[in-house]
């Protein structure tokens, strides 16, 4: 689960990470009021959306006076921010964070993330913080350093001090940075996060250490034991269909194409998308109905796909193992009867009860095209989507 920068900074501050003074605002007047509370001059106004690359996209502006804060906020609130991380449609900005801005001397990077190769969380840090960190990681992996955390002991204070020292910091700055690292570890560990980072962690001109930006991503699997974090969920930031799917316990990802895919199993669902693309088509979605799906969940999944008006054809690819093909077929027919289906269905049913499943579909009166293999199915779906798009 993603949260906003202002929410991440609040958690970080509570854990002892120094962050700039500031507050969130949803209107230009509120933004001005926040600035006036903070002081006379030197502010930054930052768009609050769940995506990076905000600066380059025009979502972050410096302001001298509270009046200027209001002007910038008026432009940023309501804008559609488009960055490489938002996708071409961009994201509507509904809130801004207004903060005191100071003079930054150096930009560092600190973050905690899972290193999957060693099954350990690692402190990742670099002297090269700021906007191009991913690029730096790719071009100069030697500039990205790591401290693995022993899960039996947690991050040791000496590891934080060693990192601060390797970041080129001395004296009081080094001490403050080590404290910031320990604070960030605390919030990471206490929230069962999958990512917590400060980029940049800034060394200000007066030597003070400040987390100018902060990002935290929570592990969805651990949210059940953090009801307080679930309150940070922002429905506005989610794709509406993905949010609906989540509620129905379905794994769904919206995509740009026009071939709806209904599949059991994540790997098979990805492979189905890949095959559709191999034949020159574009999947409209990723959808895994899950291992324990019943008729209701299948109907729910089918409805979700049909709610997408761009869908020209639906490709159902099921490998019945524990899930029985007849159950899936019944779920599809039930949902189709209820809402009415105008698009053709290409169906590949294999495994347990495949013959019975196919019979249920064939005798349903729906526009069904049974196929023997998923490859044949993908090919057929792509051809039909093309014809449908032309007609």
């Amino acid at each position: 689960m993603n949260i906003h920068e202002y929410q991440a900074k609040k958690l970080a501050r509570e854990a002892g990470v120094p962050v700039p003074e500031g507050d969130v605002a949803t209107t230009p007047d509120e933004a001005k009021a926040v600035a006036e509370r903070l002081g006379d001059e030197g502010f930054v106004v930052k768009a609050q959306v769940h995506a990076g690359g905000r600066g380059k996209a025009g979502g972050v502006k410096l302001a001298k006076t509270p009046g200027e804060v209001k002007e910038h906020a008026a432009k940023i609130i309501g804008m559609t921010l488009v960055s490489p991380q938002t996708g071409p449609k961009g994201k509507l900005v509904r809130k801004v964070l207004v903060e005191r801005a100071g003079k930054i001397e150096r930009e560092l990077y600190i973050g905690f993330v899972l290193n999957r190769s060693i099954s350990r969380y690692v402190l990742t840090y670099s002297r090269m913080g700021g906007v191009e960190t991913e690029e730096t990681a790719r071009l100069h992996p030697e500039l990205i350093l790591q401290e693995p955390v022993d899960p039996a002991f947690g991050l040791a204070a000496y590891q934080a001090r060693r990192a601060a020292s390797k970041l080129g910091l001395k004296g009081d700055s080094a001490k403050q940075a080590a404290e910031a690292i320990m604070g960030l570890w605390k919030v990471f560990a206490n929230t069962d996060a999958s990512l917590a980072e400060c980029n940049p962690l800034a060394v200000m001109s007066d030597g003070k250490i400040v987390a100018v930006d902060a990002k935290i991503v929570f592990d969805d699997n651990a949210l059940y034991r953090h009801p307080e974090l679930q309150e940070l969920y922002d429905l506005d930031e989610e794709d509406p269909r993905e949010a609906k799917a989540k509620k129905a316990d379905l794994s769904y990802v919206s995509l740009e194409g026009n071939i709806g895919c209904l599949v059991n199993g994540a790997g098979l669902a990805m492979a189905t998308m890949d095959l559709v693309a191999n034949y020159g088509g574009m999947p409209a979605n990723f959808l895994d109905i899950g291992g324990g799906a019943d008729k209701t969940r299948v109907s729910e999944a089918f409805r979700l796909i049909l709610a997408d008006e761009t869908v020209k054809v639906i490709f159902i690819n099921i490998f019945g193992g524990i899930i029985q093909c007849p159950m899936v077929a019944e779920g599809v027919v039930e949902a189709a009867r209820e809402i009415g289906v105008k698009v053709p269905l290409v169906v590949c049913l294999k495994g347990t009860g495949q013959e019975k499943g196919r019979t249920i579909l064939s005798s349903s009166g729906l526009d069904i095209h049974n196929v023997e293999t998923m490859s044949e199915g993908a090919h057929k779906a792509v051809e039909m989507a093309r014809t449908e798009a032309l007609s």
Partner: protein, 293 residues
């Protein structure tokens, strides 16, 4: 021979009295697996599917000689169940449970260090060795048949699809293992490739990977340096958008890393036959075996 399990494998099922535990215990028994005990705290002394149930894993092991465990315990208690089984000293633990917090699994892996226990999963379909009639998992048994191909995968149904293709073409399997779709799993591709390389029955390996992490790249390095047996691979998620979790907790391209393209490049550079069409896994493997015969 097979890897990981055989006729001598005696399985206890943790979480045997739950809906999934009961259902799959029955399926495993039907297939021929020797399930000797169930564990369900508070239900000791009862029976489930004709199997005696114990309160603790230690009791189940000492009274029935169980040497493997199959876990269906729901996510909040699953990591504890894994540690309990390891502490009772079984050689193999297969954890089916989906949705375990990554931080729990990080601790579990630390706990398992230095212990003589191998963990498969979590969030996986399990292990099956058809020649030994040993199925420790939730895969449909009827699609499998004994033979020379080892199958390893991060997925469930996509593996069944591949196995089904092999079986229909008359090619059997030595052992099939789903390693799990989570970012932290007990056993990696590399560990299993190493076991298949030493296994007499296995003549070739089918590897099914997916986006996220670098397990496929590590496998490619191992194949290049250590494997003499041929490997056929498919990597799912070529069309997956970056930053989105594709069903599995571990199937996510993050920070531009973990793409299918990178993995396929690594595989091909290591001499692996990587197919673009998952429907071609079976026939590609058959052709390979024929050319080597």
């Amino acid at each position: 021979m097979s890897i990981l399990c055989n006729e001598d494998t005696r399985v206890m099922v943790q979480g045997i009295t739950g809906r999934n535990g009961r259902f799959h215990t029955a399926r495993c028994l039907e297939y021929g697996t020797r399930i000797v005990a169930g564990v369900s705290p508070g239900k000791g002394g009862s029976e489930a599917e004709g199997v005696p149930v114990f309160d603790t894993a230690a009791q189940a092991v000492s009274e029935t000689g169980a040497n493997a465990s199959l876990i269906f315990v729901p996510a909040p208690g699953a990591s504890d169940a894994i540690m309990e089984a390891a502490d009772a000293v079984v050689g193999l633990i297969v954890c089916i449970t989906e949705g375990i917090p990554a931080s729990d699994m990080v601790r579990v892996k630390r706990f398992l260090e230095g212990r003589p226990t191998r963990l498969i999963g979590p969030n996986c379909p399990g292990v099956i060795s058809p020649a030994s009639k040993c199925k420790i998992g939730i895969m449909p048994g009827f699609i499998h048949t004994p033979g020379p191909v080892g199958v390893i995968s991060r997925s469930g149904t996509l593996t069944y699809e591949a196995v089904d293709q092999l079986t229909r073409l008359g090619i059997g399997q030595s052992t099939c293992i789903g390693i799990g779709g989570d970012p932290v799993v007990g056993t990696s591709f590399v560990d299993l490739l190493d076991l298949f390389e030493r296994d007499n029955q296995t003549k070739a390996v089918v590897l099914i990977g997916e986006i996220g992490g670098n397990a496929e790249e590590e496998a490619a390095r191992f194949i290049r340096e250590k494997m003499t047996k041929p490997v056929v691979a498919f990597v799912a998620g070529k069309k997956a958008p970056a930053g989105k979790r594709m069903g599995h907790a571990g199937a996510i391209i993050s920070g531009g890393k973990g793409t299918a393209a990178e993995k396929l490049d690594a595989m091909r550079a290591a001499g692996v036959i990587a197919v673009d069409d998952p429907s071609a896994i079976g026939k590609t493997t058959k052709k390979l075996l024929l050319s080597r015969a």
